[in-house]
C-alpha cells in the first residue's frame, strides 16, 4: 500500500505538472516563457476581456446543461441495456464514439441546416447543447455500464419479490449503488463538453461562442499568457467548488 501511495504521488505530479507550468507563467511579467518577474497584468487583461467572460459563461452553461442531460439519459440507458440487450442501440453508441470529431461536426452542421428548412431556428446555444449531449451520451453509458456489470442482479429480484415494482427496484436498490459511477460519468461528460472545440466550432452560432473557441482563435497567433490566466482562474474556481461540495458531503 505504501508503494501504491508513492506511485499515486508520482501520477498526480505527472497529471498536474502542465497545470503548474501554466499557472506559473500566468503570473509572469514577460509574454514569453521566460521568467521576468511577478505580475498580475495578464489577470487584469483577462478580467477586462468581455469576449472571454461571455465565452466562459457560455461554456459553463453548455457544459452544465449537457452534463445534466447526458448523465440522466445515459444512466437510464445503461440500466435498460443491462436489463436486456439492445444490439442496435449498443451499436449506435459505439459508432457515435468512433466518429472522428470533424465528421460529427460537419454532419451535424448539415443536419441542422436541413432541419432549419422546416423549423424557424438557427444555430445557437440549443444546437450546441444538443450536439454535446449526443457525443457525451456514449461515455456516460460506458462508465455506468462498467459498474453495473459488476453488480448482482439478485438484489433487485429480491426487491421485486418483496413487492416493489420495477421503478421502485431501480430507484431504491440499484440507483444508490450506482452513485459513484454516475458521479464519475458526469465528471467525464462535463470535462469532454467543456473542452470540445472541433464539433462546437461547427455547430455554434452567432451567440454561442465557447471558451475553447475563443482560446483556439487567440492561440493561433501565438500563445498568450492571458489564456494561462483564464485557465488558472477556471481551475481554481471549479477546484474550490469541488472542495466545498466535498466538505459538505463529508459533514452530512
Amino acid at each position: 500500500m505504501r508503494l501504491l501511495s508513492l506511485y499515486a504521488v508520482a501520477a498526480y505530479a505527472f497529471l498536474h505538472l502542465p497545470l503548474l507550468v501554466l499557472t506559473v507563467f500566468s503570473f509572469n511579467q514577460s509574454r514569453f516563457t521566460q521568467w521576468e518577474g511577478f505580475s498580475l497584468r495578464w489577470y487584469t487583461q483577462a478580467l477586462a476581456d468581455s469576449a472571454l467572460r461571455e465565452a466562459t459563461v457560455n461554456s459553463l452553461l453548455i457544459g452544465g446543461a449537457a452534463t445534466l442531460l447526458a448523465t440522466a439519459l445515459g444512466t437510464l440507458c445503461a440500466y435498460g441495456l443491462w436489463k436486456k440487450k439492445a444490439p442496435r442501440l449498443t451499436g449506435m453508441l459505439y459508432l457515435s464514439l468512433m466518429t472522428p470529431e470533424i465528421v460529427t461536426g460537419v454532419a451535424l452542421l448539415a443536419f441542422y441546416q436541413w432541419l432549419f428548412h422546416f423549423l424557424n431556428l438557427h444555430l445557437g446555444m440549443i444546437t450546441v447543447i444538443l450536439a454535446h449531449v449526443s457525443f457525451c451520451l456514449a461515455y456516460v453509458v460506458i462508465v455506468v455500464m462498467a459498474r453495473l456489470r459488476t453488480m448482482d442482479a439478485t438484489l433487485e429480484e429480491a426487491a421485486l419479490d418483496l413487492g416493489a415494482n420495477e421503478f421502485e427496484a431501480f430507484y431504491l436498490v440499484t440507483l444508490p449503488q450506482l452513485l459513484p459511477a454516475i458521479v464519475s460519468a458526469a465528471l467525464l461528460a462535463f470535462t469532454i463538453s467543456f473542452d470540445d472545440f472541433v464539433i462546437t466550432s461547427m455547430v455554434a452560432g452567432v451567440d454561442s461562442e465557447t471558451l475553447p473557441m475563443v482560446m483556439y482563435a487567440t492561440a493561433r497567433r501565438g500563445v498568450s499568457p492571458v489564456l494561462n490566466a483564464v485557465s488558472t482562474i477556471i481551475v481554481v474556481g471549479l477546484g474550490l467548488l469541488i472542495l466545498i461540495s466535498e466538505r459538505l458531503q463529508t459533514k452530512t
Partner: protein, 341 residues
C-alpha cells in the same frame, strides 16, 4: 449546373434573425484583428450594436458560410477564399455608392487580382510569410535555399501548411508560388522531402516562443505573428526571401444571407478610414491596405519592414491564389506523401 454544391448550399438565409429592436450587425473576424476601440467607436457613431465573433481559420469560416445560413453578416476571409465564396454565390454584391471611403485604398489594393472591380470584397489587412531567423547564430540569410543548408539542421521549422511548404519549394526551384503543373509540383515535393532530415518540425505560430528562446534558429513564419515580438528579441531578423514570397490579404465581404446589408456597408466603410485603420494596425501589427495610414503611425512602426516591405522586396511578393480542384487534390496528395516520408 455543375457548380451545384452541397444540397443545402443553395438555401438562402432564413428569416427571424433579428431578435431585438436595436439594429445589430454580426461580424466574424480573425482573433484580435481590430483596434481595441474600433467596435465601440462604430457603435457610438451609428447606434448599431455589433456582435463580434472570432474564428480560428479561414477554412472554418468557409465551411460555415457554405451552409448559407450561418448568421454572420460581415466576415473576413483570406483573399484565396473570396473566389470560392463568390463562385458558390454566397456573397452579396457591394454597392460602391455606400462605400465612399473606397477611394482611400492604397494603389496596390484598388484592383486586386482576386476581385479587380471590388464587386464582392474589400481588402482589409495584408500580411505575408518569410523567414525569421537568429542572425547572431546563423549570420545573414537571404534565400529559401538557406533552409536547406546543413547549418540549420535540427534547429529549423517550416509552417504546417501545404501551400506554404510547397510554395517555398516551388520558388526555390524557380517556379511560380501558385504553380499547378504536376511536374513542377512533384519537383517541389522532392525538394520538401530532401529538406525533411534538416527539419525540427512543421509548426505554425506555436513556434514563436522557441524562436525567441533560441531552440529554433530559423523558421518559416508570418509577419503578423513575429512583428509584436521583434523589438524584444534583437537577435532575430526577418527576411523576404530572394526567390519570392507569398502575400495574403484579409478581405471584408458581406454574406448574401445577411438581411442587414446597409449596416454592413456602413461598417465596412467605417473600417476604410485611415484613422480607424491606423488604430487596427497599431493594435495588431498587420499591414494596412489604405493610403494615408503610414503617416498616422508612431515612428517605430512607420518604417518597420514587416509592415511596409521595401519596394524591391515587395516586387517579389505574389498573392496566394485559389487552386483549381485537380491541382488542390494533387497538392494534398503530395503533402500527405511529404508527411509520410
Amino acid at each position: 449546373m455543375n457548380r451545384r454544391t452541397l444540397f443545402f448550399a443553395g438555401l438562402t438565409g432564413l428569416a427571424g434573425c433579428s431578435r431585438s429592436s436595436q439594429p445589430r450587425l454580426n461580424v466574424y473576424n480573425w482573433s484580435n484583428y481590430i483596434g481595441p476601440q474600433t467596435v465601440a467607436q462604430f457603435e457610438r457613431q451609428t447606434g448599431i450594436h455589433i456582435r463580434y465573433g472570432i474564428f480560428e481559420s479561414s477554412d472554418e469560416l468557409l465551411a460555415k458560410a457554405l451552409t448559407g445560413n450561418c448568421g454572420w453578416d460581415v466576415v473576413f476571409p483570406t483573399n484565396h477564399h473570396v473566389t470560392p465564396l463568390r463562385e458558390y454565390n454566397l456573397l452579396a454584391p457591394l454597392d460602391h455608392s455606400q462605400l465612399p471611403n473606397l477611394r482611400n485604398l492604397a494603389p496596390g489594393f484598388q484592383s486586386p487580382e482576386w476581385d479587380p472591380q471590388l464587386t464582392h470584397s474589400v481588402p482589409y489587412m495584408s500580411t505575408s510569410a518569410g523567414i525569421v531567423y537568429n542572425r547572431r547564430q546563423l549570420g545573414q540569410l537571404t534565400r529559401w535555399a538557406d533552409l536547406w543548408e546543413p547549418k540549420v539542421k535540427g534547429r529549423m521549422t517550416m509552417l504546417d501548411a501545404q501551400d506554404d511548404v510547397l510554395g517555398a519549394c516551388l520558388v526555390k526551384l524557380g517556379h511560380d508560388w501558385n504553380a499547378t503543373s504536376e511536374a513542377q509540383l512533384r519537383a517541389a515535393q522532392r525538394e520538401a522531402i530532401r529538406q525533411k532530415p534538416l527539419l525540427r518540425a512543421y509548426l505554425n505560430a506555436e513556434v514563436r516562443d522557441q524562436v525567441v528562446a533560441g531552440d529554433v534558429l530559423a523558421a518559416q513564419m508570418w509577419t503578423t505573428t513575429m512583428l509584436p515580438v521583434m523589438t524584444q528579441a534583437p537577435q532575430l531578423d526577418f527576411i523576404y526571401p530572394a526567390e519570392g514570397f507569398v502575400r495574403y490579404a484579409e478581405s471584408a465581404v458581406i454574406l448574401r444571407e445577411s438581411p442587414r446589408a446597409e449596416a454592413a456597408h456602413r461598417f465596412i466603410d467605417f473600417l476604410l478610414q485611415p484613422e480607424v485603420a491606423a488604430a487596427c494596425v497599431m493594435a495588431e501589427k498587420t499591414g494596412p491596405v489604405l493610403a494615408g495610414v503610414r503617416e498616422l503611425l508612431p515612428p517605430e512602426l512607420r518604417d518597420h519592414p514587416l509592415l511596409f516591405p521595401a519596394p524591391q522586396d515587395l516586387a517579389r511578393g505574389v498573392w496566394l491564389r485559389t487552386m483549381p480542384p485537380t491541382a488542390q487534390r494533387l497538392r494534398d496528395r503530395l503533402w500527405t506523401e511529404i508527411k509520410s516520408a
